[in-house]
Symmetry: C2
Subunit: 204 residues, 2 copies
């Protein structure tokens, strides 16, 4: 394995991607950044950490419209609206992600880290996905939801993730060509999926 | 690893998927079926093996049109045209693939094997892809072509594979959800990509 390996994990909602990322970091003995990104972004931006967590992926149709009709840039074009705040969260998290990646090997889940780091770091980008029903079952168990509500959550969160990713990166979320390895967590189970990613990381 | 493991490998042209499949079969000590499928299909159909090899992925626009305007079925609806022959090849290869899979663990490359086997076998379906320029460089080297001709080949062969797959399966070629593991052969190199697939197979 290289001395420095930055593993980014993108994942469908309910696929267990976050748990898999944690297992990979433990197996390789490298940091796993999740809440730490929110905390550092909060520190840098002056925004509340809880507010950041809630707002991370809130990109609305009206926001997309305003982006499409203005020059997309950093802050100046926006009034202090929710759109501006979502951008502010994205920018402060991007800074935090770059800072952590600069510190050496790590696993980062979500937050467009693959895109944010692509010009400055040689990342290993993995994508975790699974059958819809499998994910719904996991969401029912994790959040104690009804089948109907869990199905709604899975659909909505995937849609949010795709919109958020595509908005900030201009590329398609979940397209195989954006990742170096994609793995079906239902077929392998979380432990084995993590093991395959660890093995792949060791071979780089 | 399970006693019986059928690994299917789909791949972009020039990605090295065939070589990777061969390496996986050697590492696991299980058969690799490629030319054997053509030979068995020739035996079953009475068609010439060389004719089968050449015709395997020849699906033309006119064929797609004729399919769209007739009931798609086995032979009876067609005259002895090239369309009929492409179907005949597909059907005889499908029989050969099922026969080989029925014999036990193996690696099968291409030929819609993932789709052909999905109702009768628990396969492990892998997809190999790579950056366009990387594949062009490999094709230049393998076939001693000019850059222009290699680029043309890569584009054309991918298009053929996608059309052929989508025609016979009704599902999208290269869509991550159709496979259990997708891997970028440029990022990992052929040996390591094969090693990741072997490791994944052992964990099933």
């Amino acid at each position: 394995m290289k001395d420095n390996i930055i593993i980014t994990i993108s994942r469908e909602f309910g696929s267990g991607g976050r748990d898999i990322g944690k297992k990979v970091s433990e197996a390789l003995g490298i940091p796993f950044y999740d809440k730490a990104i929110v905390d550092l972004a909060a520190k840098e931006s002056g925004l509340d950490a809880e507010f950041i967590e809630k707002g991370e992926q809130k990109i609305t149709s009206s926001m997309l419209f305003s982006i499409a009709t203005t020059n997309y840039g950093i802050g100046d074009y926006y009034t202090e609206s929710s759109n501006f705040l979502v951008d502010k969260i994205f920018i402060s998290e991007s800074k935090a992600i770059k800072e952590f990646a600069g510190n050496g090997s790590c696993v980062i889940v979500g937050r467009c880290a693959d895109y944010i780091l692509k010009n400055d770091f040689q990342c290993f980008n993995a994508f975790i996905y699974a059958d819809f029903d499998f994910r719904v079952r996991r969401v029912i168990e994790a959040y104690n939801l009804s089948v109907k509500d869990a199905e709604k959550q899975v659909k909505m969160r995937d849609k949010q993730r795709a919109k958020h990713y595509e908005h900030y990166t201009g590329i398609e979320w979940g397209n195989v060509n954006n990742y170096h390895l994609s793995i079906d967590s239902m077929k392998f189970g979380l432990d084995s999926a993590a093991d395959v990613i660890r093995r792949a990381a060791e071979l780089l």
